[in-house]
Subunit: 79 residues, 2 copies
């Protein structure tokens, strides 16, 4: 979520945390996390494909920002 | 989400990606991402507090796993 976009879920979490005594917690933002396995792709191909999928389907550029990291399946996704 | 737990949102994303021609994408899992700012906490305090908040409110241990990273606000959260 972009900073300028209202995040009611984040606000609810912040309020619930405060009610539990965690008054030192602020600026709570809730977003989405995704894990995908890309078969037979080099790091460069994976990176290009992820960018394209984010643009075409996975993100809403009006309200969301995104970042991603590429791992080899044998040292990340499989664990 | 634990691997053993059904993730209908991930399955829907995987299907939509396949329909767009991304047939090489598998094992899609959708989860939550949260950012929180903890005021006046050392790294050790922050870590302990995050663990506690995850246990008490932020995660459902029956179906979810979690990981977290601690950053100093001046080199992370504020950007």
């Amino acid at each position: 979520m972009k900073k300028s976009v209202l995040d009611p879920q984040g606000a609810a979490v912040e309020k619930a945390l405060a009610a539990l005594g965690y008054g030192n917690v602020g600026r709570v933002r809730v977003g989405k996390y995704m894990e995908l396995l890309l078969e037979k792709a080099s790091e460069e191909e994976a990176s290009a494909q992820v960018e394209e999928m984010c643009r075409r389907l996975l993100t809403n550029p009006v309200i969301e920002e995104y970042t991603y990291r590429i791992y080899r399946a044998d040292d990340g996704v499989d664990k």
